[in-house]
Structure formats: C-alpha cells, structure tokens
Amino acid sequence: MEKLIEFISFSNPNVRFVTLGTMFIGMSAATVGCFAFLRKRALVGDAIAHAILPGIALAFMLTQSKSPWVLMGGALVAGWLAMFLIEAITKNSKLKPDTAIGLILSVFFGLGILMLTSIQHSGAGNQAGLDQFLFGKAAAITPSDLKIYIAVGLVLLALIFLFFKEFKLLSFNPDFASILGLPVKRLRFVLSSITVLAIATGIQAVGVVLMAALLITPAVAARAWTSSLKILLIIAGLFGAFSGLVGSYISFTAPQMPTGPWIVMSLSAIAIFSILFSPQRGLVAKIFRQRQNRQKILTENILKALYHLGENQKSQQNYFSKKQLLNHRKFDAAELNKGLKILAKKLWLIERETGYKLSQTGLPEAQRIVRLHRLWEMYLSERMRLKADHIHPNAETIEHIISPEIEHQLLHELDYPELDPHQKPIPY
C-alpha cells in the first residue's frame, strides 16, 4: 500500500521519468500501430524493429557518439531501408510478403549483431549501452530521454491529427485515395516514417523482440470494442499508456522485474480480455449468439413438425409421441428432448404421457413458421420461376431468418396466397 501511494504521488523523480516515458512510448506506438494493423502490416513493424540494429551500430561506428539523436538518425535510415527492401522484394520477385519480411528481419538483425560484436572485439570504442536497443532499458530512462520520447510522441500525434482523413483513406482504400488525386506515395512515405520513428523510440522501452506487441496488441484489443477509426486510435492509445503505467508500477514494486515484458504482459492481458469478452465482437458473445440461434432453429423445427403432423391428421388437438416426431423429421434424439423441454417451459406445448400437442400460444408460433416457409416457396416459384421440387431446401433455412417486415412485404407482393406450390394451405 505504501508503495502504491509512493508510486502515485510521483515524489520519486526516477519513478516520474520512467512512468511518463513508458506511457508516452506506449501511447505513440499504439496510435501509429493502429494504421499498421489496419494495413495488415503488423509484422513489417517487427521486421523494422530488428532491422534498426545495424543502423544504430553504423551510426555509432561513424560518429563514435552515443547521443540519442545520432543513434535515432541511424535507426531511422536503417528502418526506412528495410521497409523499402521488403517492398522491392515483394514487387520484383515471386516471393510472398511473409518471406520478404522474414528475410529482411533476420539478415539485418544478423548484420547488426555482427557489427556490434565486431566493434566490441576490435576495441574501436566503448559500445556499452548500445544493447539498450536490443532489450530495452525502460527502468533507466533519464530526463533527456524523456524529452525525446515526449517530443516524438507529440510530433506523431500532431501528424496523425493533421493527416487523419488522408491516412484513413490510405488504410482502407488506397486505390480510391489515388483516384481522388491524393499524393498517395508521399502520404505513404509520411505514414511509414512515423511508424519507423515510433518503433525507434519504442524499442528503447521494450527491446527489439517485443516491439511488435507495442505496435499491434493495443490495436487488436481496441478493435474488439469499436468500428470507428477515431475511437480505435483513442482506445488503443489509452491501452498503450495504461500498460506503460502497469509495467513501470510492477518494476517499481519488484525492482528485479523487467519493465518491457510486463508492459507486453499487460497489453496481452487487455487484448485477451477484449477478444473474449467484448459485447459485439467477443468470442464469448459470439458463442452465446450461436447457441441461441441453434436453439431457436431447433425449437422452430419442432413446432413445425408438430404442426405438420397435426395437419396430416386434420386436427391440431391430437397428441404426438417423440417417436412420431422422429419419424417425421430427422432430429437428434438428445437435441429433440432439449428442444421439447425449452418449448414446454415457454408453455408452447402441452405434455401428456401419450405425447405432445401445440398449446394455445404455441399454435400461432408454429403457424408463423409454416407460413414463412410456404410464403417463401411461393415467392421462389412465382418470382424466381424455380421448379416446385427445387424450393424446399432454401425455404428450410430462410424461414428462421425472415423478419416481420419482410413477411409483410412478401404477403403484399404475393397478395395473400391461399395455397403454396405443393398445394398445401398457407396458415394465417
């Protein structure tokens, strides 16, 4: 508890730098990452993160300086080059994008390692500290680092704000953007540049390997909650910043814990939760909806079967056993029991030892299904000119879907027919 208060109060300057730094990094990467995610370039981000390494090593070899500005410059150049090469390979050979990404990722990273180790062994300079780009150094953010992160974050946000409409078009429909006369190539260059910029700052917090998570995981999580780009950017940014906060809090309370991996764990937890439980697109909601649909179709089919059996005997007052139902339609026996139970609970059935019959409230429901089925058959045969033996399977599926509005329209179009194409009466 004391730790929590100390953390929140921000009294410790080190805590202040680390927390603000990771929050800004998390937010910038997440917002930019939304575009990478929408353009299906999640793993290009991973490749760029790896490819930055030789740029940093080269910048250091040439200038012998470890100033963050110099190293960032090298990182930007290498990142751009990697992105350019990935596109060139994909365009000018029969290799698929995934191969090009894997190739550039591993070769550039290998080159970077080779250069770093070579510098180390040759004694050409003290390269210690360069490996912060490999594994991140979130726990050791200094005031001058923080200034860079904040500056980069603000520049990114400003650019996204300025070019929001253009980037949106570029992400969803680049062909349309070029038809409109937008400078697509230049816009893509700007968007790629800010992606590289976000990655070059981000790897200092979480390291090369986990950078892809900083870009993509917040976008994945946010996507579960919204379909609007504006809200997507805001939610993803908040997730990113929040995870930065969580990561720095954990490494503050347990100092041996690495900040970067905990940021990623927090992001992943948010993403998993969102994928599972978001009300519209969540997996649980989806499974629940599927179950409800299956149940609806099952019970409607049972009602229909009972109606048919009654129709054959010209009385809806007779009781029919399970066996008769099974003979009439191929139900799964266990499913049939389940459906009958649900219907009895709704009081749409009356149950007796000899079997089941439709109740006062169940009969109109059964009539509705049969009516929809036969109306649709009518429509197919009259309007689509389909033969009578071709229309049943189609009606069998659509009867569960037709809404009251469509039913009304069908009735109107067909002028309340009495008999369906098989000469069976349509119940009203």
């Binding site: 995610f37 299906k40 370039r41 999640a42 793993l43 981000g45 991973d46 790896h50 390979i89 000018n92 050979s93 029969k94 290799l95 698929k96 995934d98 191969t99 990404i101 894997g102 190739l103 990722l105 591993s106 070769v107 550039f108 990273f109 290998g110 080159l111 970077g112 390692i113 080779l114 250069m115 770093l116 180790t117 070579s118 062994h121 040759s122 490999l134 594994f135 390291g207 390997v209 986990l210 892809a212 998570a213 870009l215 993509i216 995981t217 976008a219 994945v220 041996q256 814990m257 690495p258 970067g260 991996p261 905990w262 990623v264 764990m265 992943s268 993403a271 994928i275 697109r281 997996l283």
Partner: protein, 297 residues
C-alpha cells in the same frame, strides 16, 4: 578441429532449416517459423524448472510442445476470433516471449539462461561441449550429434511423407478430396519445425534459425521451377552459408551467428540478381505461367 566442428554443426542445422524452410515458404508460413523460434522460450524455462537440469531431452520436449501450442493459438485466433494473420502471429509470439523473459527473471539463480543467449546463441562454444564415452573417448560435439539426428529425422519424414506433404502444401482442397488429412500433415510438419528450431537455437540462436529457415530457401525458390531442385539448392545454399559465414566472422572478428545470417543475405541478393538477369532474357513471368505451376508438383 574446432573450426571443422563449428562449420559441420552449422551446416547440418542449415540443411535441416533449409529443407523445412522450403515448405514453410511454399505454405506461406515463413513468419510462423520466426514466431515459434521466439515463443518456445517459456517452454524451455519451464522444462528447465521442472527437470532441474540443463539436460537436453526435457528442454527439447518442453520447447517443442510450446512450439506446437503456438501454431495452434495462432490458428485459433484466426479461425475462431476472425483475426487477421499478421496480427495473430504478432500478439502470440510477443506474449509468450514476454512470459519467458519474466519467468527467467523470477527464477534467476535457478535458470542459467538469458535472453541474449536465446537471441544470438553462441555457436563458438559448440566444440567445447563434447559427447564422451564412459572410457573418456570423445565422439565430437553433443550439438552435432543432436542436430544430426534431427536432420536424419527430417530427411526420413520428407522421403516417407513426400506425397502427403507436397499435396497439402500445394493444393489443400485436392489433398482433402483424395482423403489426405491436411490437419495431420500440418501438425506433423509444425512439430518438426518446432523441434528443429529448438535444437538449433541453443547452439546458433533464434535469429540465425530464422535466417536459415528463410534466406536459403528463398534464394533457392527464385532459381528453381520444381520442388526437388528447390530442396537441393536450399541444401547447397545452407552449406555455403555455414562456410562463408564462419570465415566472414573470422575476418571481421565478430559473432559467428550474425556473420552467417549476413552471408545468407548476401547469397540471397546474388540469387535475386541472377534471377533478374536470366528472366530478362527469357521474358517469362514464372508465377503466372500455368505451365510452371504444374511442373512444380
């Protein structure tokens, strides 16, 4: 002798990766190999903690199991949650890698591993860890024995299962229609990929594994019109990578794994240039040419 052992081990691993990588590329799964090579980290750490030793067998099993789990999670995210492929790969392997790093940090002292060794490995130490008989006779490096057995396993798998593997790679629908289980071959193939990744990365590091899985087969793919030629060329490029990379590292006095990855890139650049030069003369576009696709079977 040390140089020979290093080159030999690297070549064996390069051939294994090249053979499997060829199929990975053709199945458009090049990045799944990348994902697996990172995602096995928590498996290794857990196996390490459970078995309490750096013995190879539990580590191999732990990592291979996690590799297969990774592919299953990626597939599930795509099929059940409707997620796009790149995002599902990206979030899965980063999450597992982060978990691995956290596990390592939580049990420092008990786990003699760090992310540096995972990322770039140290093939230079391969000759030091030898496989000895009880009378003290050395039979060569342990890594060479293990990776050699894996290579034999892969060759046996490809020879025995050539038809199933090839059909499920090129035409899933056709394979399914003649009763070949796509799921079975996918699982068997991905298990081999995780096994190879794990075996290799202890000695050469994750990044060189990815380079060996992608670069030699990609170069071979550009220069061949049929699968058999592609497999042979991948093997050749794999060996060249091992030899060339070793001497490059010697000249520059740097990491051997890094140099091998770099050399693989150089080889690829050469193959790319060569394919551009030759295709200009013949003027055909291999991918859209129907005849070429059919000869690929």
């Amino acid at each position: 002798m040390a140089a020979l052992y290093i080159i030999l081990t690297a070549s064996v691993i390069a051939i294994s990766c090249g053979l499997l990588g060829s199929f990975l590329i053709l199945r458009k799964m090049a990045l799944v190999g990348d994902a697996i090579s990172h995602a096995v980290l928590p498996g290794i750490v857990l196996a390490f903690l459970i078995s309490g030793s750096r013995d190879n067998i539990p580590m191999l099993i732990g990592a291979a199991v996690l590799g297969v789990i990774t592919t299953l999670i990626i597939e599930m995210l795509q099929k059940k949650a409707g997620m796009q492929e790149d995002a599902s790969i990206g979030i899965t392997f980063t999450w597992l890698f982060a978990l691995g790093v956290i596990l390592i940090t939580s049990y420092t002292g008990q786990v003699d591993l760090d992310q540096e060794c995972v990322l770039y490995g140290e093939i230079a130490y391969v000759p030091l860890d030898t496989f000895n008989l009880s009378n003290g006779l050395s039979l060569g490096p342990r890594a060479l024995w293990i990776s050699g057995s894996v290579l034999l396993l892969i060759i046996a798998f490809i020879l025995k299962g050539y038809k199933g593997l090839v059909l499920t790679t090129f035409n899933k629908d056709y394979a399914a229609s003649i009763g070949i289980s796509t799921a079975f071959w996918q699982l068997a193939f991905m298990s081999l990929v995780s096994l190879t990744t794990v075996v290799s990365f202890e000695s050469v590091g994750a990044i060189l594994v990815v380079a060996l899985l992608v670069a030699p087969p990609a170069a071979a793919y550009l220069l061949s019109q049929n699968l058999k030629k592609m497999l042979w060329l991948s093997t050749l490029f794999g060996i060249l990578t091992a030899v060339g990379g070793y001497y490059l590292a010697l000249v520059l006095d740097g990491s051997i794994a890094g140099a091998m990855a770099t050399f693989a890139g150089v080889l690829f650049a050469g193959a790319w240039g060569w394919s551009k030069l030759t295709s200009k003369h013949s003027g055909t576009i291999p991918v859209t040419d129907k005849k070429n696709i059919s000869t690929f079977f």
